[in-house]
């Protein structure tokens, strides 16, 4: 990423690029475990979406569709809070990854 010179910066320490942190892929922090979405068990309660600290639940067409591994840090809250007895999100083992990439 090219960094601006002092002359190129907006005056007054302002960031005009709202929401550009989506370029930070927090998924690279995951270590050891990751959630797995099992669609047939899902009751579309949206609790996983509600409680995911890293906005990593994929919602498409008003339905929970799975996990966005670009952002998922593997905290496991979604799995714990997933209500069905046969959980629609379970935590599974994940090979260690290199920072910034994926070895999957």
């Amino acid at each position: 990423m090219k960094k601006e010179t002092w002359k190129e910066l907006t005056i007054g320490t302002i960031n005009l690029d709202a929401g550009n942190s989506v370029k930070n892929l927090t998924g690279t922090w995951r270590s050891g475990k990751k959630p797995q979405f099992i669609e047939e068990n899902c009751i579309q309660c949206f609790f996983c979406w509600l409680y995911c600290p890293h906005s990593a639940i994929r919602v498409e067409g008003e339905e929970v569709k799975g996990i966005n591994y670009d952002y998922c840090t593997g905290c496991g809250i979604c799995s714990v809070e997933c209500p069905p007895k046969e959980k629609a999100i379970t935590m599974i083992k994940e090979e260690m990854k290199l920072a910034g990439g994926s070895t999957e």
Partner: protein
């Protein structure tokens, strides 16, 4: 009643890619709060985890207008923005029908401690603002030092447990009550695990004219030292033990919003958190007893205030 599906279809005002820890409770709070108004919103954020983790230049997680100036003055800063809004409306430089909501946000350090004066001043002056304190019980951004919101007996880096100390020796400050004493239109305590309650409270806070204050329990796996996947369970325990009662005070009238079916012992709250681990040493048993006593006292008093 709002449905989560509908909330999920709203635009995110705090987006992915922020640097908050695994299992952090802050985003859960703001996922709800920031959806509780559809009006344009301006936020003034105190220094702390939320501010630091969302705005590391040149990236920002804010998809809404957001201002940070310092640690102790989020309330004064947002009051300034609101004052300009009022002035420009009066002078006809902002259209009469343009609505904007103003939100001040701080952690417990930025609200209970160093920012208390600015908050007190801002709500006393009656600015039309909402102030949200996310109370994670410590100065988390700087490594978990004690604040006046840190519970009795918790080990924090400036109130560490040790051979001669059972952790923090003082009772928590009851900030919510202090805000109630300002006689402002709306004061409430909430917790992210009761999302509908939180959502309603945030809606009310934004709708009410004049200052409104929300004190929201905020999970911090890093400084509380618990298994981060268990956060929402732990928040449930906080309300079931009455360590963090859910209530609101609207125009002076108290209402308890959650009555545990069976009030659980404080032990349940304490046992899964590393910051309280030392309380299970024999010599520290009295601290847990004292903690329980304090929680009981506060709960009884709250019930009386709510005519229960």
């Amino acid at each position: 009643m709002a449905k989560l599906k509908d909330l999920a279809s709203m635009e995110d005002r705090l987006v992915a890619g922020h640097g908050m820890c695994l299992g952090c409770g802050i985003p859960l709070i703001f996922r709800i709060v920031l959806r509780a108004t559809e009006d344009p919103l301006i936020i003034a954020n105190a220094t702390g985890c939320l501010e630091v983790c969302t705005t590391i230049f040149p990236r920002t997680s804010w998809n809404v207008t957001w201002v940070h100036s310092a640690f102790e003055n989020a309330a004064a800063t947002i009051a300034g923005v609101e004052s300009m809004y009022k002035a420009l409306k009066k002078k006809g430089r902002i259209p009469e029908d343009k609505k904007i909501k103003f939100l001040g946000v701080g952690g417990d350090g930025g609200t209970y401690d160093i920012g208390l004066q600015a908050l007190s001043g801002a709500v006393e002056r009656g600015h039309d603002i909402v102030y949200v304190c996310y109370d994670n019980n410590a100065y988390c951004n700087t490594g978990g030092q004690r604040s006046s919101a840190t519970p009795l007996g918790a080990s924090a880096t400036t109130s560490p447990e040790g051979a001669q100390s059972p952790g923090k020796l003082q009772r928590r400050k009851d900030l919510t009550k202090i805000l109630v004493a300002h006689n402002i239109p709306y004061v409430a305590q909430a917790s992210p695990n009761r999302w509908q309650d939180l959502y309603k409270k945030a809606q009310k806070a934004f709708e009410i004219e004049g200052p409104a204050f929300l004190n929201i329990l905020c999970l911090c796996p890093t400084e509380w030292k618990y298994d981060e996947s268990q956060g929402i369970r732990l928040a449930q325990t906080a309300i079931d033990t009455c360590v963090w009662p859910l209530y609101e005070v609207e125009n002076g009238k108290y209402k308890i919003n959650y009555l545990p079916k069976e009030k659980k012992p404080v032990l349940d709250w304490v046992k899964s958190q590393g910051r309280f681990r030392h309380l299970f040493k024999e010599e520290n048993a009295w601290v847990l007893e004292e903690y329980q006593k304090q929680v009981d006292e506060d709960w009884e008093e709250l019930k009386k205030l709510a005519n229960l």
